[in-house]
Subunit: 111 residues, 2 copies
């Protein structure tokens, strides 16, 4: 037996969570939402819908909208997006550690 | 913004969680899985399937199987089931408190 859990940020609906975090992490590395989505086996259109839904609930942009230019499109995380990712990372780690500890406290001797 | 979360016990699949806990709580009060399911707007057959699936993953019975007798059917929680409910109750409360605290630590000053 083990603990199962999901955590996310909520603002009248899912505003951020592991999936979007993972997607942004890959955008940050590849500078391409296209590639990031592909790496996760997600359709590009679905990735945009997901980002758009999160941005609406968060109240700020996660990915900069600039198209073209000499270096072509290229997706960049906004400063607010990076800030959110940093906070979420710490939160996520502490949630995992905390929940494991709480689980052990109540169920370690049980089974 | 607030934290959203779900916690459950896992044993190669969901073995126990808020829904089953709520159902058992009502069985314990009403001595009737029929009534408990109805109170939760759940079909009796679905309630039995849920209980059966949990029992399989937990490895013990949650509801005693005795049918008929002078007082008719009547559903009773097994001692192991009650024990699980008690542990789950404490776990659930601590998980809520712990996660709220972790959320505040990382996001209180953020938005």
């Amino acid at each position: 037996m083990r603990i199962g859990y999901k955590v996310w940020l909520d603002n009248k609906g899912k505003a951020f969570g592991d999936g979007p975090y993972e997607l942004l992490k890959r955008v940050d590395k590849t500078h391409s939402l296209h590639r990031a989505a592909k790496e996760m086996g997600m359709a590009y259109s679905k990735a945009w819908r997901l980002i758009g839904a999160m941005e609406k609930r968060l109240g700020f942009l996660l990915i900069e909208r600039k198209v073209g230019g000499q270096s072509g499109g290229g997706s960049r995380i906004t400063p607010q997006g990076k800030n959110l990712m940093n906070h979420y990372e710490g939160f996520r780690k502490d949630a995992e550690k905390g929940l494991e500890k709480i689980y052990r406290k109540h169920f370690n001797l049980w089974k």
